[in-house]
Amino acid sequence: MQQFLIAIALITTGGILAFITRKTRDVSTIVGAGSAIIGSLIAVVPVVRVLFNSVELPLLLLNLPLGQATLRLDAVSAFFSLPVLLLLAVVALFAGIEAAHDKHAHDGWLFFNFLGAAMLLLLVAANAVLFLVAWEMMSVAAFFLIAWRDEIASARNAAWKFLVASHIGTAALMLLFAMLGAHAGSYEFAQFSGAHFTDGMASVAFFLALFGFGVKFGLLPLHVWLPEAHAFADAPVSAVLSGAMIKMGFYGLLRILMLLPNISASWGWVMVAGGLLTGIFAMAMALAQSDLKKVVAYSSVENAGIITMAIGCSILAIVWKQPFIAGAAMAGALLHILNHAVCKGMIFLASGVVYHTIGTRKLEVMGGIARSMPFTATCFAIGATAIAGLPPFNSFISEFIIFVAGLQVATLQEPAALLLAFLIMSGLALIGGLAVATYARTFGLVFLGAPRQEKRHEISDIAPSLRLPFMILLGFILVLTVTSPWLVEILLRVAATLMAGHQGFALADLQGELLHKPLIIVVQFSVALLALVIAGWQLRSRFFSTGDRSDRPTWDCGYAAPDARMQYTSSSFAQTIVDIFSPVVRPYKHGEKVTGLFPQHASFRSDAPDSLLRYLFSPLFGLVDRILLPLRGLQHGRLHLYICYVAITLLALLLWKVVAI
């Protein structure tokens, strides 16, 4: 426990020192990045101890103005600190090296480290007030990181949206914790779980929590801040935001769920439905985007949707007293959180590299980057395959676990169960299919084909030193894939801690072996597939490639002068799908139809700003303005009427109250 706090302190002070020494860039880089990395390494030790040999670390007390606050690191906190620590370290490494290379790299170490420290603090806070403090510090740090390039209006705009959104969420959380605290008579989580809430209160609490935390992890209507924030922040920042900060939303939600013993089915249904809609909507939006990082950001929303579904399924399973399903779904959700953190970290870093190298995020003008940046391309390809939930990589494993839970649900002989199974299975399938489409589009049109830009300065792959972080993440992807059958045991332990309060499922009830055996086979398949493919490819290109030639243009069906501009563009690739979802996506389409035998010059482009933002939130805020602005007339500057206000107030009070006497 002490180690954990030391790590937090180290990271914070490192940030501050880096800020002080920001004039001398190298020093601040070393201090900032170094403290982040070392801090994470230190913090890993207690985390691992808690997770692997499930020891309870001693509590720590903190004397806050609103009373004593407990710090504790239980299995759940430990698990959730894995993505944080991992990304903190790797991204710090990346950003550090990058900063050493070019002058324009991100150097907001102060807030970067604060963000990390705040998240770690959040995870060990076992007290509502401390939790809120850490939560807000996290948001504020993130706000500054998003607004780092504040000379760009859109970055400011994104930061504004982010902070407003997260503050709305925090308001809900304040209400929630105030309610719990008022009822339990203390802000300590321990007291909360002790207090007996009525079902009504519990539901109110849950939905407040879902709202408050949903803002962070991007539940359907509340995700609007997310794409822009991730798009306009620097790559390392978006990596941490998407990989770690979003997960804190899930952490909070699960924490609250732990504290509410009387769980109800309606919560589960809401979460499943919400998650499903989120996932599908996000993918539909992602396909319509023309900004590389927005696509990736939307895919974060999609994964959040999947995780939400899984948690919802687990809740329902708890209500239906199905320990195995509950455990499997929860374990799947947790594993997916971890996997998503790794893959998304890699993808964001890779897309950041692309952005830095060719200086644009527009998919339309990209293409053919793979030839000049093979390493980045490989990383992105693996990351994309993984995050699209395809074998042989890690995200498939977690989705597989969730699927297994779904299959198990289908065996229950009751309509509700079948409905749930239907939602989960076909939902996941659809989302997965769309994810494949999205990432095929993203990777294919960014890295493959010929450059769609007329003139592009000569680009080269990232410096060898910059490859280290990618290698680490790649290693994690493989490790997470291979070790998953055993990882599940730990995850189930975490899940057991999560559900301890509810049905009192023991770890044994969760029947880990039912997951373990299939997973081993899946892993064997994955490894075999990977090995065979590589072997086959190498053999083919080593020994059976005599006489092969690759100096001919692409076969364009007899067209004599094929041209890079004739390639399928990202928007045309997505059009067929986007058209299906156009009622929700509402894409902008600018351009005229091509007519006549010898058409004149014509142009077409389409883009899709978040439809919920356009059709829900902007009108809402506008409405508030329209209501409030006229009221400003009250301050008209006429002294007589000001006095009149006073007089009227006095008279009104006198008449009202004196009559009452």
């Binding site: 103005p65 809120l132 807000e136 105030a178 008022a182 000001y642 006073v646 009070l653």
Partner: protein, 492 residues
């Protein structure tokens, strides 16, 4: 007791003296010295060694301790700040009006009135006798009007006039309240003080107390800036010189609030009255919150925005006291936090104004680049004033929500949070517009507003607010809890 009198007498004397000092330097040093002596004495008075004194006229209890220290602290800060501020503004000789020649030049009047202002506030804080307190509060109005009119232009004159008239009217009504309160007391009340009245709470006539409370609320409420009597506040705060605005918002409003608290103290003792008072306080609190939210949204003038945020926080104070229980302690804490933060914000706005020479939000851009220190503090102040942890304001605001829910008033809690949200969004928009962005085409020399004496007070105040948010030292906690107990509340 001597110290208590000294706190009031000293500034009066020095103030009058400084009217007739011709040397700028001497006058300023005098101001500084007085500020520090005052601060020293009030700390001396409040560290408990003096104990509770309940004179017929002056007294010292937890409430006055709290407010006295805040006031003295803020005054010192503003005094330090005005060292530089006065240099930046040309002083001119007061005009001869119908033979009544105003002695000294405008800066002399400034220095003098500052000290008289301090004296008046000390009086209103230390006085236990309701009549005396009324005198003190009225005196604050008189002393601060010339300060608001410091710039000697039409706008400041208009502001000063409105301030003068509205506050005088309000306070006249408060005097009415005082008379009614006197009416409630039957003959055998010796001391016309909160404590004295509470002793004989059995004999007090509830109806008259209620009427008195209404007059107090409307009267002192005008001075405190509770909507809808707040209308003078934005004008005065935006037109006054920044150090004065800091005093007005950070210290003066508290004094007026104290005026209401004193009668509330009596109401608590009388069975029927407390509920009645709480109801009114909650209503006015929420109303103020709403009004401030409306006017902060799209506010084109950043000093006015700060002024409205003062209205908002006065609303929070009223609400907190109205909710009772530990919310009262929270309100006391909030009063302290708000004074510190708001004062530093006003001082910083002075820096910005000095450089950009405009109070318009749209004219100020890229503060963080143009004046790094001020910009950073300005943002920090924003987070502090909107109750973002770990600043102390968060604790108080959160505690108030909790109490609201404890008493099961969901409506109040939700409205409260909604209005806070509204204010937050409004302020965020403004602060982002000011701090971020590209440097404006007109090249500003940021260093002009960044001298050490201009930065020091805000730094100190904000740091204090931050530390208080992380840890509450026992003497602070005791003072706040003591104040809460006086008002029939619970400890934090």
């Amino acid at each position: 007791m001597i110290t208590a009198y000294a706190l009031i007498i000293l500034p009066v004397i020095t103030g009058v003296i400084s009217l007739f000092i011709s040397s700028e330097r001497v006058r300023r040093n005098l101001l500084m010295i007085v500020a520090f002596i005052h601060l020293f004495m009030s700390i001396l008075l409040c560290n408990g060694s003096a104990g509770e004194l309940n004179g017929v006229w002056l007294g010292l209890d937890a409430l006055s301790r709290l407010f006295l220290v805040i006031t003295s602290l803020l005054f010192t800060g503003s005094a330090i700040y005005s060292m530089v501020y006065l240099d930046k503004h040309p002083h001119f000789n007061g005009p001869a009006i119908a033979g009544l020649r105003m002695p000294g030049n405008s800066n002399a009047i400034f220095a003098a009135c500052m000290q008289l202002f301090l004296a008046a506030m000390s009086l209103s804080i230390l006085s236990m006798h309701f009549g005396l307190q009324w005198i003190g509060i009225e005196a604050t109005t008189l002393a601060s009007t010339p300060l608001i009119y410091y710039h000697r232009n039409r706008r400041s004159l208009e502001a000063a006039w409105k301030y003068m008239i509205l506050c005088s009217v309000g306070i006249a009504l408060a005097l009415m309240g005082v008379f009614f309160l006197a009416m409630t007391t039957s003959s055998h009340v010796q001391q016309f003080t909160p404590a004295g009245l509470s002793l004989f709470s059995g004999y007090l006539k509830v109806e008259w107390l209620k009427v008195a409370f209404i007059f107090f609320l409307v009267g002192y409420g005008t001075k405190m800036g509770l909507a809808p009597m707040h209308t003078w506040l934005p004008d005065a705060h935006s037109e006054a010189p920044s150090p004065v605005s800091a005093m007005l918002s950070g210290a003066l409003l508290n004094c007026a609030f104290l005026g209401i608290l004193r009668i509330y103290q009596v109401c608590v003792a009388v069975p029927g009255a407390a509920v009645f008072a709480n109801e009114l306080l909650i209503i006015f609190g929420l109303l103020s919150l709403a009004v401030s939210g409306i006017f902060i949204l799209h506010q084109p003038d950043y000093k006015r925005m700060l002024a409205y945020s003062s209205v908002e926080h006065m609303g929070i104070l009223a609400l907190g006291v109205g909710l009772g229980g530990s919310a009262i302690a929270a309100a006391m804490l909030h009063a302290a936090g708000h004074s510190l933060v708001k004062a530093s914000l006003f001082l910083l706005s002075g820096n910005v104004l000095a450089v950009y020479a405009s109070k318009k939000v749209e004219d100020v851009k890229a503060l963080l680049k143009a004046m790094p220190l001020t910009g950073a503090l300005w943002l920090a102040g924003f987070f502090a004033i909107t109750g973002t942890p770990p600043f102390t304001t968060f604790n108080s605001e959160f505690a108030i929500v909790r109490v609201a829910l404890q008493s099961g008033s969901w409506k109040v809690a939700t409205l409260y949070l909604l209005f806070l949200l509204l204010v937050f969004i409004g302020m965020l928009t403004i602060f982002m517009h000011m701090c971020f962005g590209k440097k404006g085409e007109q090249e500003v020399d940021g260093t002009a507003g960044e001298s050490f004496w201009q930065i020091l007070p805000p730094v100190v105040f904000l740091t204090t607010a931050l530390l208080l948010g992380l840890y509450l030292p026992d003497f602070v906690r005791n003072t706040i809890d003591g104040a809460a107990l006086l008002l029939g509340g619970k400890a934090l």
